[in-house]
């Protein structure tokens, strides 16, 4: 019976020492001391040889129970120590989350003219318009004649034109003047000629050039042109399309106003105004007159109209069978209105401190 008592005493000692162990090393020492091959339990069991055969099962049973208990206690103690260590780590000193994040490369920025062009084109692309382009160094015929602006016509004064010396590009005399396109409208002509027959819906962005350089003009700027030609296209369609565009570009509450104007390649011609994006069309801003719309509540943003029958004839369409509308807008102006850019020069200085705001 001594052995049973020894085992019980051993178990009691194990409980105490395991409970007080505070790190992995102490636990490991206790495991070796109690459970190891040369450990205390083994030592007790070695004494079993001297017992009577009938007593052996009972002592064996107690020995197994004590070993199981010690093993369990060790597992629990290990968990307790692990938890304590994690607890300590979680309570440790914080990193400085306010240090700036690490950036390997700066972010590149897209020029506001490009951004605005893309926004405009995307709206018309959703309306089913195809994107087209055309040359910037253009023939007089496409830029003027085909658009119902004959030579010696006063409408040519509306656009101060840069000319290219034909000889400089190996062009024989008498093949018509070569110029920098003054608007994106020649792309209309090229697109209709290319398509060959209606219906056609095209939107065409690009660089245009006019000999004018002051506070409100640069000799190069950007336009987006659009044209829609087909059977039974009406002025009402023009109004609806441009109103939809204005809402998509400037915001859902935007109102549009259309009034008569003159562009030689459309008839009737129309100037399109949108309600001022700065003052919301009220004409005043925090009590003072709105500087953007000069108090009128309206902003002139688009030229448009029904494609002139002469233009349709010039590309081989029958004006009795098809009608269409065309429109054009200045990208810089749209960008200035949308982003509140007051100074046109900013677009072409390419100051990174400006570009990085987009």
């Amino acid at each position: 019976m001594d052995l049973v008592r020894d085992l019980e005493a051993l178990a009691e000692g194990a409980r105490l020492s395991i409970a007080s162990a505070s790190d992995d090393r102490a636990l490991e020492e206790l495991r070796v001391r109690f459970l190891g091959k040369k450990g205390e339990i083994s030592a007790v069991l070695r004494g079993m040889g001297q017992l009577a055969a009938e007593e052996r099962p009972r002592v064996g049973e107690v020995a197994n129970r004590v070993r199981d208990e010690v093993e369990s206690l060790l597992v629990l103690a290990r968990q307790r120590i692990e938890d304590a260590r994690l607890e300590q780590e979680l309570r440790g000193s914080r990193i400085d989350v306010t240090l700036p994040g690490r950036r390997l490369l700066p972010r590149g920025h897209r020029h506001p003219v490009t951004r605005t062009t893309e926004e405009i084109v995307a709206i018309f692309a959703r309306l089913g318009y195809e994107v087209a382009s055309g040359p910037e160094i253009e023939l007089d015929w496409y830029n003027f004649e085909a658009l119902n602006i004959p030579a010696d016509h006063p409408a040519r004064d509306m656009q101060d034109t840069f000319y290219v010396d034909g000889a400089a590009i190996g062009r024989p005399e008498g093949e018509g003047a070569v110029l920098l396109r003054t608007h994106t409208s020649p792309i209309q002509i090229r697109a209709m000629k290319r398509a060959g027959s209606p219906p056609i819906r095209v939107v065409a962005p690009g660089r245009v050039y006019r000999s004018d350089y002051d506070q409100t003009h640069t000799p190069m700027f950007h336009q987006v042109e659009g044209i829609c030609v087909g059977p039974a296209i009406t002025f009402a369609d023009l109004k609806g399309t441009l109103a939809a565009f204005a809402r998509a570009f400037f915001g859902a509450g935007t109102r549009t106003r259309v009034r008569p104007s003159y562009f030689p390649f459309v008839e009737p011609g129309a100037e399109v105004d949108v309600s001022c994006s700065i003052c919301g069309g009220s004409g005043s801003r925090s009590g003072a007159r709105c500087g953007t719309c000069k108090g009128s509540g309206w902003l002139e943003v688009l030229g448009s109209g029904m494609v002139h029958p002469k233009v349709l004839e010039n590309v081989g369409f029958d004006p009795a069978a098809v009608t269409g509308f065309a429109f054009g807008m200045g990208v810089e102006r749209m960008a200035m209105l949308k982003y509140g850019i007051a100074d046109l020069r900013l677009f072409y200085e390419n100051d990174l401190r400006f570009l990085e705001q987009f």
Binding site: P100, L105, R110, I169, A243, P268, L352
Partner: protein
């Protein structure tokens, strides 16, 4: 065009100015500004001097009691040209004087003064500073001075589009007002009294160029006395921005502004032979125009000549020789119709833009020529005391046939997308002066008024109808076209992906003018004779040539940013470059326009930060950015071949070559450090990187839709390899040597080292190689064998030595 409302009101009843402006804008005559004339005199009123006494403390000052509408007030005055009872201008306290200062209640040497009595000069009315401006004695005290002087007016600045010359006059605007408001126009009566002898006795007119002068009518006024115009006439002209010159000249300008018909007055005694010949100028012929400039004429210039010489540029400007002068007594008044394009060519040739040429080149009313002449002759006679000789000398070789246009009643609705009844169409057109000549079930025939030269076809009538009805009446609908939804063009997708890749690599977009100074392109060296395309009429020498390369503009932007102390800059631009057209052009574009992608970079490799070093960006950073572009476009098989054109540093530049599937080699562009001399030419320091790629070539190489090869099913074996090779051996040769082993899946060069213990002239390349077979697990001995074959190949081909 400036339109005086007090003048306009003589022809048509007017709504209030703001409402009128709105109505005119709504019919297509955009009112850009509404200006109140006389506003500068606000605060100045008529005042009667009731009494005066000497200032107690100043001999030269008088203390006056004046009545200015609200009972007597006291004003101190220094002038002496007045007497008690006179009516004079009083600037009341608060008035802002033309000179800029404000009149306030003040004390002058101890005497209170409630305002200031003014001279004409102080009110900027004339140069007369000799004393107070004495007003008519019947002026009611308290009346605003502008009203007393009759200069109170509102002027509309109307933007008249080039198609509407008929609206370049007060009567023209009156017609539009009448049509828009339903009122009637009261045409002024010429009140012409003619006397013998007939004008034809003292003047002969002949037209030698009838295709340039359709009609020439003239009248003669004799016994004229040149003098100043009456105030009402001066004020009307001045309100319209026309300077008063003399009664005769002012009469021609008045009729011009009233009817839009330019007129010219000659001193008949200076017309040699009393003969007018309308003819083309002779080669080398010279004349002095009214502006004092001697001009050499072109045989395409139409002139008004006398027996001896040209005395006016027809329709543009008169000549100095026959000008009206103070001694003129016999006046010839010309009213003519000149062919518009000819006038325009002459005006442009001589860089003249006059009130006359502006109207003639747009087209004046062919039926208004004689009416304007009569009106002017009557005015000249009335203003100058002369007599109008009987009859006009009227040569009219080119008679105009009236224009009739047929309107299908359904057409307005078809074009506008809203119903327009036959009645609505008719009413609108009649209001605008059209005459209905015939009317049927389907259409009507309208006669166009003679002043509407712009209306020639049915669509023009539709425009007239809708502009009068108002564009607001048109509904908003969307087109009913059904068509394929077009895909975004491949070229646009490529540009979008390229932008995203460059933005990820830190490049921002610049947009530069397409024209540069010729000198901007020269530092780049002879680019196959590509020197840009010069403009014939550049706006400045700095913007004179359409650029053949985007790089100079970008270098200038870099220099600009440097001057703004922006040190770290990465910029790109996508734009056309311009070249003379070569053989094999596919369309009729007159020049060759090649889309390019160019970029520049300088400054630090990483943004400044607490954990980043300050290394400078170098060739391989920019190469990495371009590799990202190539990767996003699916371009494979690009080699960076040393050397990249004259404008890059010979040691640090590469040409990017893409090998097409057919084996052909396509150069995509170049990348490298800017040549030190080029950098100096653009005021840049060393270490600027740049690239220039052809988007055309990138389009050819791009494969936006890439396939995929699944993921490997069997494990890889990893082995490192370090070899020492001569410095001249390119990394690409070593890597190609490794890749030549079929079991190599991938190789990464992770270190390049020069210096001890590596011998001089050599470098150590360390690589991580991944071996894998697609169909089985590689054994160690297979990998060892592959590794050994690589080492043997590098030894044999490149003289490489193995390092431990």
């Amino acid at each position: 065009m400036r339109i005086s409302l007090s003048w306009l009101a003589a022809y048509v009843p007017l709504p209030p100015a703001e409402e009128l402006a709105r109505r005119l804008t709504a019919v297509g005559l955009e009112v850009e500004a509404v200006e109140r004339v006389g506003a500068a005199l606000d605060g100045v009123v008529a005042a009667r001097i009731l009494s005066s006494e000497r200032h107690p403390g100043a001999e030269k000052l008088a203390v006056c009691q004046v009545e200015a509408g609200d009972g007597p007030v006291q004003v101190v005055c220094g002038a002496t040209n007045w007497k008690v009872g006179d009516v004079v201008p009083l600037a009341t306290p608060g008035t802002r004087m033309p000179a800029g200062h404000r009149i306030d209640r003040a004390s002058l040497r101890g005497v209170d003064s409630h305002g200031m009595l003014c001279s004409a000069k102080e009110l900027a009315l004339s140069e007369d500073a000799s004393g107070l401006l004495i007003l008519p004695g019947d002026a009611v005290p308290g009346t605003p001075l502008a009203r007393v002087l009759g200069i109170e007016d509102v002027v509309l600045e109307v933007n008249v589009t080039p198609n509407r010359p008929d609206a370049l006059s007060h009567l023209g605007i009156a017609r539009e007002v009448a049509a828009a408001t339903g009122a009637a126009v009261a045409y002024p009566d010429a009140r012409l009294r003619q006397q013998a002898p007939p004008a034809s006795a003292s003047l002969r007119v002949s037209i030698e160029a009838p295709d340039r002068c359709y009609r020439y009518a003239a009248r003669v006024v004799e016994g004229v006395r040149i003098g100043p115009s009456p105030a009402w006439l001066r004020q009307r002209l001045e309100a319209c921005g026309v300077r008063s010159i003399s009664n005769v000249v002012d009469a021609t300008n008045f009729v011009l502004l009233e009817r839009g018909q330019p007129l010219h007055a000659f001193d008949l005694d200076k017309v040699a032979g009393a003969e007018i010949v309308v003819r083309m100028a002779r080669v080398g012929e010279k004349m002095v125009t009214l502006d004092g400039v001697e001009r050499t004429l072109s045989p395409d210039d139409l002139v008004i000549a006398d027996r001896d010489r040209a005395s006016a540029l027809a329709g543009v400007m008169g000549g100095g020789d026959s000008e009206i002068s103070p001694g003129t007594t016999r006046v010839l008044i010309e009213s003519a119709w000149f062919e518009p394009t000819g006038v325009r060519r002459t005006a442009r040739r001589h860089a003249l833009h006059t009130e006359a040429s502006h109207r003639f080149e747009r087209g004046v009313d062919p039926e208004g020529v004689v009416a304007a002449l009569d009106r002017c002759a009557a005015m000249v006679a009335e203003l100058s005391g002369g007599k109008v000789l009987r009859g006009a000398v009227d040569v009219h070789p080119h008679r105009r046939r009236p224009v009739d246009v047929v309107l299908h009643w359904a057409r307005p609705g078809e074009i506008l997308g809203m119903p327009v009844s036959r009645k609505e169409a008719r009413i609108a057109l009649l209001a605008l002066g059209f005459e209905l000549r015939a009317s049927g079930a389907k259409n009507g025939k309208f006669r166009v008024p003679s002043w509407r030269l712009d209306v020639t076809r049915e669509e023009d009538l539709v425009e007239e109808i809708v502009r009068l009805r108002g564009y607001d009446a048109i509904p908003e609908t969307l087109p009913s076209i059904v068509s394929d939804t077009p895909a975004l063009p491949l070229a646009a997708q490529i540009i979008e992906r390229t932008r995203l890749a460059l933005e990820g690599a830190g490049f921002s977009e610049a947009v530069n003018f397409s024209f540069v100074a010729p000198g901007d392109l020269t530092p780049l060296g002879p680019g196959n004779g590509r020197t840009g395309i010069p403009l014939r009429n550049p706006i400045s020498a700095d913007l004179a040539v359409m650029r053949s390369s985007l790089v100079p503009s970008l270098l200038k932007v870099l220099a600009y940013n440097r001057r703004q102390r922006v040190e770290d800059a990465r910029l790109y631009e996508i734009a056309s470059t311009y070249h003379p057209r070569g053989e094999g052009a596919v369309d009729d574009a007159p020049a060759l326009e090649e889309l390019h992608l160019s970029g520049v970079a300088t400054g630090r490799r990483h943004p400044v930060g607490w954990s980043a070093g300050g290394d400078s960006i170098d060739f391989h950073d920019v190469k990495g950015a371009l590799e990202a572009v190539l990767e996003t476009l699916g371009v494979e098989g690009v080699r960076f071949v040393p050397g990249g054109g004259t404008w890059l540093h010979p040691r640090s530049a590469a040409t990017m070559e893409w090998t097409a599937p057919d084996g052909g080699v396509v150069p995509l562009g170049v990348v490298g450090e800017i040549h030190p001399r080029v950098a100096a030419a653009f005021d840049l320091s060393r270490g600027v990187l740049a690239f220039d790629l052809s988007l055309e070539a990138l389009n050819r190489a791009a494969r936006l839709l890439t396939g995929h090869a699944g993921v490997p099913r069997f494990p890889a074996v990893l082995r490192d390899l370090a070899v020492v090779v001569a410095n001249e051996v390119e990394a690409r040769s070593v890597l190609d040597g490794v890749r030549a082993e079929p079991l190599v899946e991938d190789v990464t060069l992770f270190d390049v080292y020069k210096g001890a213990p590596i011998p001089d002239g050599k470098k150590n390349l360390a690589m991580a190689i991944r071996y894998r077979a697609a169909d089985r697990t590689l054994t160690d001995s297979e990998a060892d064998g592959a590794h050994a074959r690589i080492v043997e190949r590098l030894k044999g081909e490149l003289g490489a030595e193995l390092r431990g």
